[in-house]
Symmetry: C2
Subunit: 341 residues, 2 copies
Amino acid sequence: MTNTNRRVLLKSRPQGEPTPANFDIVDAPLPEPKDGEYLSRTIWLSLDPYMRGRMAEAKGYAANVNLGDAMVGGTVGQVIKSRNPKFKEGDYVVEYAGWQSHAVSNGAMSMKLDPNAAPLSAALSVLGMPGMTAWWGLMKIGKPKAGETVVVSAASGAVGSVVGQLAKAHGCRAVGIAGGKDKCDYVVKELGFDACVDYRAAGGNLFKEIRAAAPNGIDVYFENVGGAVQAAVVPQLNDFARVPLCGLIAHYNEMQPSPGPDWRLLLVKRATVTGFIVSDHFTDMEGFWKEVPALVKSGKLKYREDIVKGIDNAPEAFIGLLKGRNFGKLLVQVSDDPTRS
Amino acid sequence: MTNTNRRVLLKSRPQGEPTPANFDIVDAPLPEPKDGEYLSRTIWLSLDPYMRGRMAEAKGYAANVNLGDAMVGGTVGQVIKSRNPKFKEGDYVVEYAGWQSHAVSNGAMSMKLDPNAAPLSAALSVLGMPGMTAWWGLMKIGKPKAGETVVVSAASGAVGSVVGQLAKAHGCRAVGIAGGKDKCDYVVKELGFDACVDYRAAGGNLFKEIRAAAPNGIDVYFENVGGAVQAAVVPQLNDFARVPLCGLIAHYNEMQPSPGPDWRLLLVKRATVTGFIVSDHFTDMEGFWKEVPALVKSGKLKYREDIVKGIDNAPEAFIGLLKGRNFGKLLVQVSDDPTRS
């Protein structure tokens, strides 16, 4: 067993796009679990757009990371030493250990994983926070009805891919918006969306291409990006449209406010825009557990992972995530996953 | 009995602010009711901001007025000739006769008024469309809880004045925003709001003055105006704030889209913005009828009328309404009200 804990710290707050210089990679002594705690080695680290907010000074919707602290993030680990009777050596856990190779925890927020039920890493994507985000936003805010049109931006991503597939499962027309031909092909051919618009190729025709893909207008717009996509979608909302506002990745690196759509568009269409963050709703996920694991098991709900090896590569991978460079759920493999061949 | 019907027609569509030249005032022969119809003389004509939308070419949320047609609007009239057994000569009705002194109707959308229950004109303000708008937006979208802060713009107006008084009745802190000292004094001293911000006097201090009036942040923002008020309010929304989006009078004369607030503000606060128009909900007003007439009768819900005499003055009064010149519910008295001394 190693004696060191490899950690990625927040060194400075980004001005605009994060750069590798905003991070510090250090080796610390392996922490020792106290009574009631366990020590785990991290196997999988999830990288997600919301982490950009945690790097900022400005007040966001969760405690931001202090300078010199490890970056936060959801992880899957294996218990390697335990002084907590609920967690035994060898147990797999989904936890919130952050960007480091090892962590101690009192287990209050940890959940044991059955490695036979699903791949361990699924607890960070389709069966974890991104899957719950997709389900909550679509089902509780979007409230799709069969026959309606659901448009989702960042459609090949961890959240968007689940949104579109759930929309299909509920009898809707699912239209994705993604960057690049490969992602669009994947969204339509692999995930079964009805159409996908490549916003990078569309350029000034974005409005028209979305119109062509959603000829009956848009009943639900699951918003992950903002920017030009938002500007092209909002005027195409139908009467009584619902907009689950999940993310605005196009704006996360901006230092100044970016104006949003004219509220006259929302008024005339009697549309509803609802910002949400899934952690407000973790205790109300019964519907998710009833629906989503079965869809995954049956193969009706597919997901794709984009795996980067080694925690030292987390900063670069995260910077790429904000530029849309990943293709599927971005995960850092921090150490060996014994359940994978 | 007169032989002519005085009518105000839409002559041309306004480019920006409406002017008197956009209207035509003509005398037409008195229409003759056919079998199943009645003829009424209009007593009260309601002037409301939404009418600006009906003058436009652009697709709005209701059929726009065609050039050469009479302007639309809610009215209270008295039946003067009837070939419909449900409506007798002398009956008072609330109807949608538009900007004219007389109209025929089949009665399908008319409702008889009891002149002893409330002043006739109340059917166009607190007990009519504006009152229902206030009630629906506040109660069904705003969902105020006791102890929360409700902010309403255009607070001395037909809708805003009811919003704030209902908020008080439900145990909330009610903060108005209005233009001018007289209106603000009225809102606080007559209507019983906790505070009122004069946006005209505030100038660059608008944000700070709203903060001082709503020191615990804003849980419900009932939006009637848009513009600088919106820009100052939205950053002060609390977590899980609700924004009933009822009107945007500051923008109705604009020819180009006006950007709205940065959606990052809505996302971080998990706020909900819901555009609505009351006519979608006329059939679901049970709660309104249970609550509001009793509050009016007991004197707990006050209202103020701004009365202009003569239909020829309707265009000028309407132009002033869009500039905030009215003080209270703007009504045109088209003919004598026998129930008023």
